[in-house]
């Protein structure tokens, strides 16, 4: 059974990359703003579909809405910025590098958020992240040599 869940998390990663390429390909055909509109319309429709299929109920009370800060509702705006930037960069460098550098950026800001907001420093993440960066830099240097 564990294998099934490992496979599911691999697939979750695969869908992230698929989504990024499809968005950037659509952007090249109809424009990046227009493509993003399509992305959100389709995504919204599928969110409703899954809500309907799943047994999740919409139970947001006004009282509970006030318990979280207002910025928590603006993830969608942040998501738009990500798609627009990703549409710009995805066709320009190898997918492998964009994937891993996005991960590094995410990891190090994540570590900083943990440190300044939660006051918690993860040494493992820091060391692991540095190793990922070293491995990437090594592979980039191979590319440089090939070009030279």
């Amino acid at each position: 059974m564990l294998l099934v869940y490992l496979l599911i998390s691999v697939l979750a990663g695969v869908t992230v990359v698929f989504g990024r390429i499809i968005n950037s390909n659509l952007a090249e055909k109809i424009g990046t703003f227009q493509g993003t509109v399509i992305n959100y319309i389709v995504g919204l429709s599928f969110s409703f579909l899954f809500l309907w299929i799943s047994n999740e109920t919409i139970t947001i009370s006004y009282a509970s809405m006030k318990t979280i800060p207002i910025w928590a509702y603006f993830g969608g705006i942040v998501g738009v910025m990500i798609i627009l930037l990703s549409n710009y960069v995805t066709p320009k460098i190898s997918l492998f590098y964009s994937t891993l550098f996005m991960f590094i950026g995410q990891l190090f800001l994540g570590i900083m958020i943990d440190y300044f907001v939660v006051h918690n420093m993860s040494i493992g993440k820091l060391i692991g992240g540095l190793l990922v960066l070293i491995g990437l830099t090594y592979n980039l240097s191979i590319d440089k040599k090939q070009e030279a």
Partner: protein
């Protein structure tokens, strides 16, 4: 330059996770996803209006190009199934492994009309260091 943009995208992803994670405290997966998509849709439509871009759908675009939004919702589904059984750290580490492997495959074969970037065997050393880094993050 493109590397710096990628790093910035990753950093913004962290901010998004913080925002969306906070929203998840008061609502389920799909309810959150609906709120996130409505907010996103409004903001991109606003961008479209301000930039006065024309919206025109050419015919003959392959159907799969419209599927990114659906793929994104599948990411939410798969991630939440995995979170429940494997926990956050393992899900993210294995997910990153999935992202890296599929990226190498797509680069190598130029799938989805991307530029072909053949895999160089010398890069296995870098890959091992990367894998070891992810392993350290998962167990520490």
């Amino acid at each position: 330059m493109n590397i710096i943009i990628s790093l910035i995208i990753g950093a913004i992803v962290s901010v998004m996770i913080l925002f969306n994670g906070t929203l998840l405290r008061i609502s389920g997966n799909f309810t959150s996803s609906i709120i996130i998509h409505i907010v996103g849709l409004f903001s991109i439509i606003l961008v479209l209006l301000i930039s006065k871009s024309k919206f025109k759908i050419n015919k003959g675009i392959p159907l799969y190009l419209y599927s990114a939004g659906a793929v994104g919702v599948f990411t939410v589904v798969l991630t939440s199934i995995s979170f429940a059984k494997l926990g956050v750290t393992l899900t993210l580490a294995i997910g990153l492994l999935g992202q890296s492997l599929i990226s190498i495959l797509i680069d190598h074969f130029g799938l989805f009309n991307t530029k072909i970037i053949k895999f160089n065997r010398k890069k296995c050393i870098g890959l091992l260091i990367i894998a070891f880094g992810i392993f350290i993050m998962t167990i520490w």
